[in-house]
């Protein structure tokens, strides 16, 4: 038995810091709360999408070999956090994760003729992923499926590509996310099988992990901004003659929110770095990042609403908008129940380790 130590460095490089600054100012300026409101109910703003395209944000995390800028999952996560902070109505995460998957397929020699690659790379054609495989429902509820013309899914052991002339109709939801039901059996849908076999499973699972991590990042952003809004309100609002932030019943809720934000951010960053650099190490980290971001975002935005008292539940209040987004963004991936199922693979791994330890410890 030998000790294994790992580094615990969550700091951003200078380049990463600059990327965050750029994204922060871009989304803060362009994705104002008015823009977000105006983009409802569909949850998509074409102008903002054009800005995203024009600023080259769609190729940041795409390999150079297929026309991208060579960045990785970590950069996508940093973008995801900034998108979450303004609830930006653009399908950047779904699109880029899907393009990364398709790039990986291209890398193994799969040809993707059913898709106009150049248009997709530029974002003129939006693509999305169907992160879970609930084919027992007949159709799949697809994030960004109401704005995408191409959806990549996993069915019967194969990675498939579904395309339509126009996006599917949105399935209405409280968060006004552009989710839609897609089915290969739909007569408007053209389906191509891209890859089958073990390699397909591996590539798909990695893409699924990337989707969870990047989506977790967007939830981190939602929580972070909710935390700041609630803090600001608690400092401003007076009751019984004092600022309500002086009440422990309020300030401790704000402390709890902060703990959730920090841990969710750190887990997401760690999962991104390790998935990118050591995909075989602790594959459960992606599901952990998503599960924690989901529950933390659900409870933190609820607390942030509650700290506002009655004002929080009015549609006028910004905080109620962020609250609404959370469940739409998080549940479309199947929810914590499915994440826990994947996390539980770590139980079997650990059970084996413990048996090994028990055996070896007598030989110490």
């Amino acid at each position: 038995m030998t000790l294994v130590l790992r580094r615990n460095d969550y700091t951003l490089s200078d380049e990463q810091g600059q990327l965050v600054d750029m994204l922060r100012s871009l989304f803060t300026e362009q994705s104002t709360i008015d823009v977000v409101r105006a983009a409802e109910p569909l949850g998509f703003d074409q102008n903002l999408w054009s800005t995203v395209q024009d600023n080259g944000l769609l190729t940041i995390s795409i390999p150079e070999s297929v026309g991208g800028d060579g960045g990785g999952l970590v950069e996508l996560v940093l973008a995801g956090i900034e998108i979450g902070r303004t609830a930006a109505p653009v399908p950047l995460i779904d699109h880029v994760v899907t393009m990364r998957l398709l790039s990986a397929l291209k890398g193994t020699g799969v040809s993707i003729d059913a898709l106009d690659w150049k248009a997709a790379l530029a974002g003129d054609l939006i693509v999305s992923l169907a992160p879970i495989s609930t084919w027992e429902l007949g159709s799949q509820l697809v994030p960004s499926g109401a704005v995408a013309k191409a959806v990549v899914a996993f069915k019967d052991g194969a990675i498939i590509l579904m395309t339509r002339e126009t996006p599917a109709a949105q399935a209405q939801n409280e968060g006004c996310a552009p989710v839609a039901w897609w089915s290969p059996n739909d007569e408007d849908v053209l389906t191509t099988t891209l890859l089958e076999g073990h390699e397909a499973v591996d590539i798909w699972e990695l893409a699924h992990r990337e989707w969870r991590i990047a989506t977790a990042a967007s939830l981190v952003g939602l929580m972070a901004i909710s935390s700041e809004i609630a803090r600001g309100y608690a400092l401003d609002r007076k009751a019984f003659g004092v600022t309500i932030a002086k009440f422990q019943a309020i300030s401790h809720q704000l402390a709890d929110i902060h703990m959730d934000v920090v841990t969710a951010r750190n887990m997401t960053i760690k999962a991104a770095w390790l998935t990118e650099n050591e995909p075989d190490f602790r594959p459960e980290l992606a599901a952990m990042a998503m599960a924690h971001a989901t529950r933390a975002a659900l409870r933190s935005t609820a607390k942030a609403v509650h700290v506002h008292g009655g004002m929080g539940i009015t549609n006028e209040a910004d905080i109620s908008l962020f609250y609404r987004k959370v469940s739409s963004w998080s549940l479309v991936g199947g929810g914590i129940r499915r994440d826990l199922d994947d996390i539980s693979t770590a139980i079997d791994h650990r059970a084996q380790e413990l048996v090994v330890t028990a055996l070896t410890s007598s030989n110490r």
Partner: protein, 387 residues
């Protein structure tokens, strides 16, 4: 101790049948609309109920009731719930207050209509800058001979756009004197200068901001002594909070608000059960056989039973928090469909879950935040007032 079923008398069975008919003829239930606490009973139903003395059936016939009892009142509540009709709330709170503090003029001219249910009321307590801290009210009432001139603004005037009267908390002295310079009025909403502007809330409900601009009313509309509004308001407020509920009888013990939220909670659980019954696992078996689904539903049912057993004031915070917790948990259980609005393809009953997730945060603030309830409970336990 008694938890036995009430054997309904033949009169009561007739009563039930009549109400069912009355409702069927005047109302179509909207199954998508499970959280009805910001809607008012439809006028057609109310007028028919009122004509029969059934808005407050426990009152004597002469007093506008029907000389019936607690059981009939509980029957109405349950039937209204079954048909998704909002219950009659605020007016009931005011009857004892008007009897005790109302001017003779109010007793003669307004109280009968409130008793019978012909007239409706709403509550004007909170203000934009004063939510739970009602003693900080700034809406001003200035006496001018036999009349009063009112100026100010109230928040959360639910039903303010469709009520005959507002039970209004006003300031009649220095704000610094807190609860010692408050005075209550019953202001006719059709008085010039009263205006209601909608405030839409999570879940789609409507409440209002109401504006009072140079509203002139007769002193007849005053309730209780000048500057004694705190005493006048405290009883209906306590009743709203669910205080003083006796733990015997046929009414639920968890207070009016707690019971209302528990009924919504029941519908949430029913929706989740219907979702599970209509879904299969990849292996073809019903989701009702999925151990994790069963555990989630069993936990929800356990908490529902817990809420029904919360006494009086405890009912509201406990049911509000259980509702929020399980709206989240059941949405997760039913993910991804749990995020879909009612009526959307694939949502089936899951729309109830999504809608309840929107409704739940409000339940934790209506009638005072859960923090205020805990403060109050701590006081009742003999603990000192928090800082």
């Amino acid at each position: 101790m008694d938890f036995s079923q009430v054997e309904l008398t033949s009169d009561q069975l007739v009563f039930e049948k009549e109400i069912r008919e009355l409702i069927s003829q005047n109302w179509t239930p909207n199954l998508a609309h499970i959280a009805v606490d910001h809607d008012r009973m439809p006028k057609s139903v109310r007028m028919e109920m009122s004509r029969r003395g059934w808005i407050h059936p426990e009152l004597a016939v002469e007093a506008g009731g029907a000389g019936l009892g607690e059981i009939e009142l509980e029957m109405i509540t349950n039937l209204f719930d079954e048909y998704y009709i909002p219950a009659n709330v605020s007016s009931s709170l005011l009857i004892p207050t008007l009897e005790k503090f109302g001017s003779q003029w109010l007793k003669d001219n307004v109280l009968p209509g409130i008793r019978s249910g012909e007239l409706t009321t709403c509550l004007g307590y909170s203000e934009p800058d004063n939510g739970s801290d009602m003693a900080a009210a700034t809406t001003r009432a200035v006496q001018d001979g036999d009349t009063w001139v009112i100026n100010g603004q109230k928040m959360w005037t639910t039903w303010g756009n469709e009520s005959d009267y507002v039970f209004l908390l006003t300031r009649t002295g220095a704000v610094e004197e807190k609860h010692r310079t408050l005075t209550m009025f019953l202001v006719p909403m059709n008085t010039p200068g009263v205006e209601a502007t909608p405030v839409w809330i999570l879940g789609g409900g409507r409440t209002n901001v109401t504006f009072y601009t140079d509203v002139v009313i007769s002193d007849n509309y005053r309730i209780g002594p000048v500057n004694d509004g705190w005493s006048v308001m405290s009883e209906p407020l306590a009743t709203e909070h669910g205080a003083g509920v006796v733990t015997e009888g046929v009414s639920p013990v968890n207070g009016s608000m707690g019971a209302g939220f528990s009924r919504v909670f029941q519908k949430l659980v029913d929706g989740a059960i219907q979702w599970a019954a209509s879904r299969t696992m990849p292996d073809g078996r019903s989701r009702l056989e999925d151990p994790l689904v069963r555990a989630a539903l069993a936990e929800a049912m356990l908490d529902l039973e817990m809420c029904w057993n919360a006494e009086g004031e405890l009912g509201k915070p406990m049911s509000a928090e259980a509702l929020a917790k399980h709206a989240d948990k059941l949405a997760d259980m039913a993910a991804p469909e749990g995020l879909l609005d009612f009526g959307v393809d694939g949502s089936i009953a899951a729309g109830i879950i999504a809608s309840e997730r929107q409704h739940a945060p409000g339940t934790a603030v209506y009638g005072g935040t859960t923090e205020i309830y805990r403060n109050n409970l701590a006081r009742r336990l003999g603990l000192p007032r928090p800082y």
